[in-house]
């Protein structure tokens, strides 16, 4: 199953109690977690700001993975550079989708449910466009530095994982700065906290949600490329990635950037560590159980006051 491919990198080591093994799994878990965080932050934003649960979020991420993959395979463009093309592209796509698909449903009786079904339809469309264009074959981004590793003491860090992680940190930082340092970003936050109040203050809700949606989709693209550094992907895999998005949002609290960042790291850590002790199929059971447990005990997220 797809779950195995995702978690295959953290095979159970031979000696479980070896401190180096534990340290190694902590490090690779954190690297993985950073990527979950970037991937989840946009998902969290659209959910928080406009009550839109974008089921197609991960599918957009895979779109960017494919752009990176083909850029690399056909023209030798480094995946990070390919973001220069895919990010603006996804941003504009986000704006258009918001204008033509999301805006018509903002007045419906239950925006959350309506948006879930609408974006589910969108996910089906995207998945099948990708299947048609690029076939269901598994792809893996292989760059010149893919096989290179860095040693810190006895701990091994893969260069490609590190690049993915740094990319994620930069992405999250960019979104954080946007939200807390720019006027538009402050408007987004105001809208999230109190839409009616924000409207009374003269904030153009439509424009704010449109930009939020564009940024969210673009961040999904960056997250997708970061993911593609670590895991193989094909169009249907977005369904599995989606579960991690839900995990990030629900652990971190809806709409919170810092919450998403911490949640991503935590989930990565738990995945990494438990991967060292349990067979990988039970790691997934553990994660889903964790998600259920958090929802039942503290549905507003672990870091909400």
């Amino acid at each position: 199953m797809q779950g195995r491919q995702l978690l295959v990198k953290i095979r159970p080591p031979l000696n479980m109690l070896n401190p180096i093994v534990i340290l190694q799994s902590i490090v690779s878990g954190l690297l993985m977690g950073g990527i979950f965080a970037l991937f989840g932050v946009g998902f969290s934003l659209t959910w928080g700001v406009m009550k839109v649960i974008n089921i197609a979020h991960a599918a957009f991420g895979i779109m960017a993975s494919y752009i990176a993959y083909w850029g690399l395979t056909l023209y030798g463009i480094d995946p990070v550079l390919s973001l220069c093309l895919s990010l603006p592209l996804l941003f504009v796509t986000g704006l258009l989708i918001h204008r033509f698909l999301i805006q018509p449903i903002t007045r419906s009786r239950d925006v959350v449910v309506a948006s879930m079904i609408l974006t589910f339809g969108l996910a089906i469309v995207l998945e099948n466009i990708m299947l048609f264009a690029w076939s269901p074959d598994e792809r893996l981004i292989t760059t010149a530095y893919s096989s290179q590793v860095i040693f810190i003491g006895d701990i091994i860090i893969k260069v490609s994982n590190l690049i993915g992680f740094i990319l994620s940190l930069m992405g999250i930082l960019a979104i954080y700065l946007f939200l807390y340092r720019t006027c538009t970003g402050k408007a987004v936050r105001a809208t999230w906290q109190d839409p009616e109040g924000a409207a009374l203050q003269g904030i153009n809700l439509r424009r704010v949600s449109m930009i939020t949606f564009g940024i969210a989709i673009a961040s999904a693209g960056a997250g997708g490329v970061a993911m593609a550094y670590m895991y193989s992907f094909n169009p249907p895999v977005h369904n599995l990635w989606l579960i991690f998005l839900f995990l990030v949002v629900i652990v971190g609290g809806v709409g919170s950037v810092i919450g998403s960042a911490i949640a991503g790291l935590m989930i990565g850590l738990i995945t990494g560590l438990s991967g060292a002790f349990f067979p990988m199929q039970w790691v997934n059971v553990l994660l889903f159980g964790l998600l259920m447990g958090i929802l039942l005990i503290k549905p507003e997220g672990l870091f909400k006051k």
Binding site: G3, W47, I53, L101, P104, I105, S108, R109, D110, V112, V113, A114, M116, I117, L118, F120, G121, L122, A123, I124, V125, E127, N128, I129, L131, F132, N239, I243, F246, I250, Q281, W282, N284, V285, F288, G289, L291, M292, L295, L296, P299
Partner: protein, 324 residues
């Protein structure tokens, strides 16, 4: 009298469907209608909790799957006939709904949706890794000792019966005190409480009932497919499909899931016959987008309103015509 006339059409249609196997239609056609029945059963019973009560459950395929596995195990170990085994299947599904529903029904909206989604994933993974239940190898059931045409017909008739039953149950619920209580929970749970409604109790009853029917259907379905694998019976896509069918038709009434299940099954079938699967799925996905944007309350309500508006326009235009 009017009631009798009104019920003639559906009753005779059901009889027609019941006699279909005697005409010995192609096996493909029979199994297609069988599948439609299955989706009617699932969508109608989902609608009890999802449409009437407003709790979006993505976990309904799990209740179906529990039913499949229960009757398969009963058959393998005790040689129990599928049609008897279906009852404990339903009961076990209900029990699972009771255990899951008790904590989960406190959550609302997307949180409930996610928690039920997780439930499916967990149960799928547990079954896959549990050798007693066949693990990821699956279970092969012995074929029933009868002619394939005959057994197909029997399955067909049973599912027809179950589909009719699930529609009737939904209709009954909608028009009774129970249904009104569920509707008030959907609209505003706090207000429902001020109206003396024990909301937690009512929700769990609806959830248990909505798990029972898929459990029974699953119990019988086990023998129909005879090879059981978690990927088939705990397929999350089935869960999503039944949600979409119910909402496509319109979740507020018993008619919605029926129309949605029939319509989407037919469209799906036609699309997959005539064009390549990717394009079929693209059209399929685009359809959901279109329905949500243009018919947010489902097609049944849309056409009702559309006809209603036509009537109103008619009565409005007539006085103007007179003035002229």
């Amino acid at each position: 009298m009017q009631k009798i006339i009104k019920s003639i059409v559906p009753v005779s249609f059901i009889f027609l469907l019941a006699f279909l196997p005697i005409l010995q239609p192609p096996a493909y056609f029979l199994s297609f209608i069988f599948k439609v029945f299955l989706y009617i059963i699932l969508a109608e019973s989902w609608n009890l909790i999802g449409g009437f009560t407003g709790y979006l459950s993505f976990g309904h395929v799990a209740f179906f799957g529990i039913g499949v596995y229960t009757s398969a195990m009963l058959f393998q170990h005790f040689g129990l006939s599928p049609f008897i085994g279906a009852i404990p299947s339903g009961l076990l599904s209900s029990a699972a709904a009771w255990i899951i529903g008790y904590p989960c029904l406190k959550l609302r909206g997307p949180y409930f949706a996610v928690v039920t989604l997780c439930f499916v994933f967990i149960i799928d993974l547990v079954v896959k890794n549990w050798t007693f239940l066949g693990g990821s190898e699956g279970i092969h059931l012995k074929l029933l000792p009868m002619d394939i045409q005959l057994s197909r017909s029997i399955f067909y008739e049973t599912f027809l019966g179950l589909a009719v039953a699930s529609v009737l149950v939904a209709r009954w619920v909608q028009h009774t005190k129970f249904g009104l209580g569920l509707a008030s929970i959907r609209e505003d749970e706090e207000v429902a409480q001020t109206l003396c409604i024990h909301t937690a109790d009512l929700k769990i009853k609806a959830f248990i009932l909505s798990a029972f029917i898929p459990g029974v259907a699953g119990g019988i379905y086990a023998y129909y497919i005879s090879y059981i694998h978690p990927d088939i019976v705990f397929d999350i896509n089935i869960s999503i499909l039944i949600v979409l069918m119910a909402l496509f038709g319109g979740g507020g009434s018993w008619a919605g899931p029926l129309v949605g299940a029939v319509f989407l099954s037919i469209v799906n079938e036609f699309l997959s016959i005539f064009i390549r699967p990717e394009f079929a799925r693209i059209i399929y996905g685009a359809m959901f987008i279109a329905v949500i944007i243009f018919m947010p309350d489902g097609i049944v309500t849309f056409f009702k309103k559309w006809m209603g508006i036509r009537k109103i326009q008619h009565s409005y235009t007539s006085p103007v015509d007179k003035e002229k």
